[in-house]
Subunit: 364 residues, 2 copies
């Protein structure tokens, strides 16, 4: 039922450079993508002008016609969107809900994929963890975050707003359909990794209704994957594990909101948001998946070409992997690893220099 | 309207030692409490046998008659409750919802108070953060976590359970009544601290319904506290700040679930769950507040007298502060600080030795 991955020929690649440092890091991701892709894979790019700048200029966030065009791409690469903090002309949340989340929901990106690695040689470059914690061993895990339901649906409302009797509800919606498919995807990913371990993260002791469907389906799907070791952690305990023993994790599967929180902590401990890549994946390939760095548009440093494009470049690796080219993706990862190991603390390179260096390692 | 704090005379102290290491650490907390309390303050203790052991023995979690007795105490000290992991006779969540959360809701503990400090000399004893992060300065903040609503109400349900069409909802309930009072309490606490800074933590860009009432009431109450500097952070960004720049925080106010998550991270970075104290506070004093270490009953090390009672002892300090004895509370804190600074990495002391050492320092 799932469409086959695009392995040769022309890939229709939708590129949303976005705002601030978005276009700067996207240029480097594209540079490395071109070098890493197999000779018989060509990217036909279409650029989409979306984000804070377009909104401020035109009042448009994501016109229906643009969404329909985007739907027809094979894959999407996004830089970052977002205007200056507290811009009075940019209503809070408008780009998040009108563009980023809208794309996740419309394109059914039910797997939000966020890998974390602490590369041995590069550990001290960015991680806020102590040598003692990092010294316990390599960190290499991936979070499979549900992307289309949970507390992210906008469900809920408010009554008697602005009065002392106001009550506002926020409803987390969890369907067997939505929970099972993401759990199944996580088991598939765990099965393909050397350690074959999958940890469910939730708060089943308090969020009983949502917790029950996650817990039951996790146990149920586990029966089909006897080769995968399973584990469970409450979200609060994960805070402790990720900071004191991140080595314990291999694949984590969790809901949309817990995944949002856990992946920022994961990014923080593994060298910072400057290295964190992500994929908004539709594993059924019924619409294009979208790859983007976890970081924002950083308007404060935009235009100076000092942003680190590594997260965008690693997002390109996830894109290649999704398109069916794991070897090409691995080449990018290896090149990034080598580049990270060669970095000196305090070293300053311009954005294109980092891209060039990684592209050169991929090429040679 | 609020009952006056108990400053002299007899304090009716309900003690719930609980399971595992609970009784061991509670004994030390009581030892230090007695020494630290002003001469004219006497504790009349009543012990309550509650927790996993009682449940396994009698099938009772919190009988109504016991709850009514507890309601009449002036303050409560809890050790920890919880049985062996995966005990088939102990239904998951039964103690959490039937005892711990039940007490918070029944006694209207709307302020869940969780201070975090990284004591300069003691930094390297337990924090998983790097010297670089810790070297930026002292860490001293307190989380004011809402304790009686949000996603903790049990609201929600499930339809077509066990079928592929199942849908389960979990409803976060946020009332102006509940949100305003905890925000107000947080502003009061911020005003009394040297830095006078209060950060609201939420996810207003996604959880719009709940986010709006938190945001609006935060702005509104802020007008009455022009001396307090206000700030806002999304919960995901807090993950990054707490691990790379924890010095930035002074007082944090947040909802029940975000507070649960943030305080475990706060405990982890500031020396671990072995040092984290908490108060389930009813600031209106319409029922007794309850003080407890954040850690659990640790059945694996129970009976060996090797548990660190520091978190329980610091919870005793919060209790004294709540009863109107900030100087006595400060004496305990100073004694703990001195004890922490005198600790050697790898040093092993028995639980009563730690209590004795801290009590001796309090005594002078
Ligand atoms: C921008 C925001 C809506 C988004 C989220 O909450 O998912 C971001 O934090 C992320 O993790 O991609
Ligand atoms: C045991 C559990 C119900 C509780 C909570 O979620 O509040 C605990 O994690 C805490 O933080 O006190």
């Amino acid at each position: 039922s799932a469409a086959a991955p695009v392995t040769t020929g022309q890939v229709a690649l939708g590129v949303i450079p976005g705002d601030g440092i978005g276009p700067e890091v996207t240029a480097e991701a594209l540079k490395v993508l071109e070098v890493a892709a197999p000779a018989d894979l060509k990217f036909a790019q279409t650029q989409y002008d979306l984000g804070a700048e377009r909104y401020l200029r035109t009042g448009e966030v994501l016109p229906d016609s643009v969404l329909e065009e985007i739907r027809n791409q094979d894959a999407l690469l996004l830089g970052a969107v977002g205007g200056k903090p507290n811009d009075p002309n940019l209503p809070p949340g408008i780009l998040e809900r009108g563009l980023l989340l809208k794309l996740r929901f419309e394109l059914d990106h039910y797997v939000n994929l966020r890998p974390s690695r602490i590369y041995p040689g590069a550990a001290r470059l960015g991680s806020p963890l102590s040598d003692e914690v990092l010294g316990k061993g390599e960190v290499d895990f991936v979070v499979v975050r549900e992307g289309t339901e949970g507390p992210y649906t906008g469900n809920g409302g408010a009554l008697r707003v602005g009065t002392p009797a106001e009550v506002a509800t926020e409803v987390s919606v969890n369907t067997a359909y939505g929970v099972e498919r993401v759990i199944r995807d996580a088991f598939e990913r765990a099965r393909k990794r050397p350690r074959k371990k999958l940890t469910l993260v939730h708060k089943t002791n308090v969020l009983v209704h949502a917790g029950q469907v996650w817990w039951r389906l996790f146990q149920q799907v586990a029966e089909e994957y006897p080769d995968v070791t399973t584990d469970y952690s409450h979200i609060d305990a994960v805070m402790i594990y990720l900071t004191t023993d991140p080595q314990r994790f291999d694949v984590i599967v969790t809901d949309n909101l817990f995944g949002d929180i856990v992946t920022d902590l994961a990014a923080a401990i593994s060298g910072g948001i400057g290295l964190a890549a992500s994929g908004n994946v539709n594993p059924d390939r019924t619409s294009p998946s979208m790859f983007e760095p976890v970081h924002g548009s950083a308007p404060d440093i935009a235009g100076q070409l000092i942003a680190d494009p590594t997260a965008a470049i690693l997002s390109g690796a996830l894109l290649l992997d999704h398109l069916g080219h794991p070897e090409a993706a691995a080449r990018i990862e290896a090149a990034v690893l080598a580049d990270l190991e060669a970095r000196e603390p305090g070293q300053q390179r311009r954005t294109p220099e980092v891209g060039d260096a990684i592209a050169a390692r991929v090429a040679g």
